[in-house]
Amino acid sequence: MDRRVTVSAALATTLLCGACGGGADTDEPAFRAALLTSGPVSDAGWYAGAYEGLLMMRDSLGAGVSHQQTRTPAEFDEAFLAYAADGYDLVFAHGFEYQDAALRAGRQFPEMTIVVSGGGRVTENVVPLVFTLEEGSYLAGMMAGGMTVSGTVGMVGGVAIPPVQGTFRAFEAGVFAVNPDARVLEAYIGNWDDVSAAKEAASAQLRQGADVLIHNTDAASFGVFQAVRERVAEGEVAWAIGMNRDQNGIAPEVTLGSAVIDIPRAFLATARSWQAGELGGVPIYVGSSRSVIDFVPNPAVLDAIPAGLLEEVDSARVRIRRGELEVPRVHFVEGETEEG
């Protein structure tokens, strides 16, 4: 079977050779890296971060780069095939949706390495890149547990899928670490972009007594900030915490901080370990140990946060980096064990 695959891969690249020939530059790049996204790289978030990472590979590692936005799953295999034929070494497939096609392509083109963001399966040349946002989320939970006056905090999620639930479990753990008696509310709006639904869910939690809210709703998060703002305007005390990227600027006066992913840095680090021949066979976890995941307190409200709490969070960050503190995590890479 392996031989057949190799033969067919050779055939495929030969057949497609016309597609790659001619255009090659005279100064050969150090390596070729490509990025596949399912959304536009102008989203100032998940996809934009990936594209930024790709450009950093070009600028600091001398890679030849290319990007394609796929519109449908039918384009996945085609894109891998085309990149293999064009001699690309490393393909970042930025989303779990690519994993099946990546496995097929990985079998067919053993020379190419594929990194699947949030992927669930691992082979020699197909590697999931898993962002352990739980670590930032745990630190955010500590902050929430320390700041709550009412003893109740809330979580507003987009869709109840394991990656989101994972961040909430970690958040809970962080809350209980500093405030064992706290109550944690949890709600999902069912999508990623309904701002008014997010606001409604957040307001409901505030009415139930929550005074610190975290979200994991992507584009709908503005509704959570809005709800907190209005609560504060009514004279109550309430805080919001951002997620995924630094959202401290959205509502600076009511935001404690954000749990962030530094995607460009993760990509760059992955590319470096591929160059070093260290990539393959095991999933890549990027978290606070590589400074990809972090909790960023909001500088605008530092005065409102007790110094002791900030110190506690800082020391927890250090212990997580050293591996001394285990943050609860959802395991979705196949065959992955508790120890990961």
């Binding site: 067919s8 495929a12 490509a34 799953p73 039918a74 996945f76 085609e78």
Partner: protein, 373 residues
């Protein structure tokens, strides 16, 4: 004017297609240049990426043509008989859902049984999705344009629900189904390419459809009903409802099959957003081909090359996908404009004066379906 001059269908879509491509090339080049991109590099990668090598042609262009040909046939078959099925998109999704369900549920069967079963299931799914519009049109006189469009939304949501609910992959993490087993997948025709059995299947169906309209009594009846229901009923003494029923079912089956072939030949699993709007592009494909089944194959391959080349434009020339979509839309528009214009030139005199019925003649107005002018 009638949208489907029967004689004109026999006209030559290739000439009009070439003219349109040249014209659009100029417009697209100008707009790319204005956007700060190199038009020559863009077009070079478009052509190289779709037609530049046997591999690109077989693995990219033809593979992309398959769903367009099948949905194009679905639309063509419907429009020819005066059924305005705008719902190929929803029927495609229903077919894809049915195919994946069959592939997973009967996964232990040998390929010789499972592949036909999967394809039949997808056709059946498409048929089920068109039953309501068909019933409403034939029994209640409700225009199928609206109902088929509404069923599109339902079909898209059906798939979205399936990948999160009943058909979600067993670990329940990702919104997609498990891959169907190898025995349910369409075999690849040439090793090293992605070209699968779906292409000869689509070709065969197109030839079959061509023969159906060219030679069979039933095909002639369908064309007659499309030319004028009233004439078919009165002069042809035809059972118009029967013809319409058959047309609805065939159209739905073809669109459903497009979904089945796509999951069994390309994606192997069901995703939401499986189709980038093939069911709608199909309308352009069918109209460009003048509803001629063999023309639909040609138009499908042309659109497949265009979309495949568009991917290469992104990869190799660094043109952002929004620009690529805009250029693609321009090409489609001008293809249609030139195609339709060149056909109406060959469609003969606009009638000898108004003796044979004016454009809004009160006595002749109702042989077009109300609301679909």
């Amino acid at each position: 004017m009638r949208a489907r001059p029967f004689i004109a269908i026999m006209g030559n879509p290739w000439v009009s297609g070439a003219t349109a491509l040249a014209l659009t090339g100029l417009v697209a080049a100008a707009s790319l240049w204005l956007g700060g991109f190199d038009p020559l590099a863009a077009f070079a990668s478009l052509v190289r990426g779709s037609l530049g090598s046997p591999g690109a042609f077989l693995s990219i262009t033809l593979v992309r043509a398959v769903p367009l040909i099948l949905t194009g046939l679905a639309v063509g078959v419907a429009f020819r008989a005066g059924v305005w099925n705008i719902g190929a998109e929803g029927q495609l999704y229903a077919g894809a859902v049915a195919a994946v369900w069959a592939g997973l549920h009967f996964g232990t069967l040998p390929a010789a049984l499972l592949v036909p079963l999967v394809l039949c299931a997808s056709a059946l799914g498409g048929v089920i999705w068109i039953l309501v519009p068909a019933f409403l049109r034939i029994r209640m006189g409700v225009g199928e344009v609206i109902t088929t469009i509404l069923m599109n939304f339902l079909g898209i949501h059906l798939a979205a629900w399936m990948v999160r609910g009943p058909l979600q992959e067993p670990r329940g993490i990702f919104p997609q189904t498990e891959s169907i087993p190898l025995s349910a997948q369409l075999p690849v025709l040439f090793p090293g390419t992605r070209l699968h059995l779906g292409f000869p299947l689509a070709m065969g169906l197109a030839v079959l459809a061509w023969g159906f309209y060219r030679w069979t009594v039933a095909g002639f009846r369908a064309s007659a009903v499309g030319a004028s229901e009233e004439v078919a009923r009165v002069a042809g003494a035809m059972d118009v409802n029967r013809v319409l029923t058959g047309t609805f079912l065939a159209s739905g089956a073809l669109a459903g099959l497009a979904g089945g072939v796509e999951v069994a030949g390309v994606t192997f699993a069901l995703y939401e957003g499986l189709s980038p709007g093939w069911g709608y592009t199909a309308i352009a494909v069918a109209l460009l081909a003048g509803l001629h089944p063999l023309g639909i194959v040609g138009a499908g391959v042309l659109f497949g090359a265009l979309e495949g080349g568009a991917g290469a434009m992104q990869r190799n020339a660094g043109i952002p996908s929004a620009w690529v979509s805009a250029v693609e839309a321009m090409v489609i528009l001008s293809l249609l404009a030139v195609g339709v214009a060149s056909r109406s030139r060959t469609a003969g005199p606009p009638t000898t004066a108004n003796e044979s019925g004016g454009i809004v003649a009160g006595t002749g107005g109702s042989d077009e379906d109300p609301g679909h002018a």
